[in-house]
Amino acid sequence: MLLAVSAAIILSSCTTTEIDEFRQSATTINQDESIVILGRRQNNNYETEESFVGCVADVVSSGQNSISVIDEREFLDAMFPFFEPRTAPMRTGHLEQLMAVDVAAEKMEEFGIEYIVWLDGITERSDQSGSISCTIGPGGGGCFGFGTWTDDSIYEAEIWDMDTLSSVGSISTEANGQSYMPAVVVPIPLIARVEANACSGLGNQLKQFINGS
């Protein structure tokens, strides 16, 4: 029990998260309105992970003051070909042009989307060091060694208002954490949940932002 509590304390202290919010306009959302959270995938070097987008969507759509979130894949399929990596609007000016297309505007109206949230970012591993070796023999097996690594998550959410077709603000989150893996016979993972913390922080801040807090 003491070991589990100690491990939890170590785990929670291994990640630092910083969240910044920039608001340009007031926001509010009604019960019958929804938002959609989309990942930016135009960059050649990286793509915003679908799993991260899904995580943020889960945080926003649950708990107190939850907001209805349209599933990303459902939205992309319904709005095809307008939100593919090659064709998605990059700026609100492009969104205005898109909404001038009847079929796109009708589909958006059907979904009842009040805000589009674009997530852009990545979680990367850096500063990896150490090694663990494992052996197995007639008398048994085990591992010995020590590994450590740092994960960095940097994401930005830009919120577009579908009524004014303009950006109403952005939220950026930066999280990093150190993970450890000592191995004494068995590996003991002490994993810093960097991406999960970034998701939770960004999702909760986004929920507050859209609700107008």
């Binding site: 793509e47 992970e49 679908e50 095809f80 070909p81 307008f82 593919e84 990596p85 090659r86 064709t87």
Partner: protein, 164 residues
Amino acid sequence: MIYDDGFSNHSFIEINDTTGDDQYIINSGASQIALFNTMLPAVFEEVVQLDSLESASNYSELDAVFFPAIEEFQVGLPQKTRLNVYEIWVKYNMRLARANGDYIADWVMTAYGKSPEETFQSVDAGVNDAANVALRDLAASFTLGLSNIPEVNEWLRSENVLGE
């Protein structure tokens, strides 16, 4: 549209650098046909499939004949690129001609797709994911960009399809 044998039966063979044997064979012909059979009816009012240009004379109302062809097909495998993703890149040559074979337009389009980043992805799943993204990429750029091809735009205007 006309799908020639090279398009209908297109396959890509990845050679093992060490042994020189066929390592992976990707048969994309059927997927390509399915894609164009879905895409073209969304862009043109009516679409019929012909075996050859000669059979076009059987259709008096034919406005144009469309010939897609695959010029290049490249696959990026994690074991070679050292990335955790599978990538597919395809270069198409699209040709549009009148029913009598007279040239309307000839242009190149590319499609790119990569699988989501996963550490223990199977080759089948990775290539499939990358191919899906690449085909969606082509469909999106074709449907939205076709009328912006200069020769195609000129032809559409001559047919009074585009407004002022």
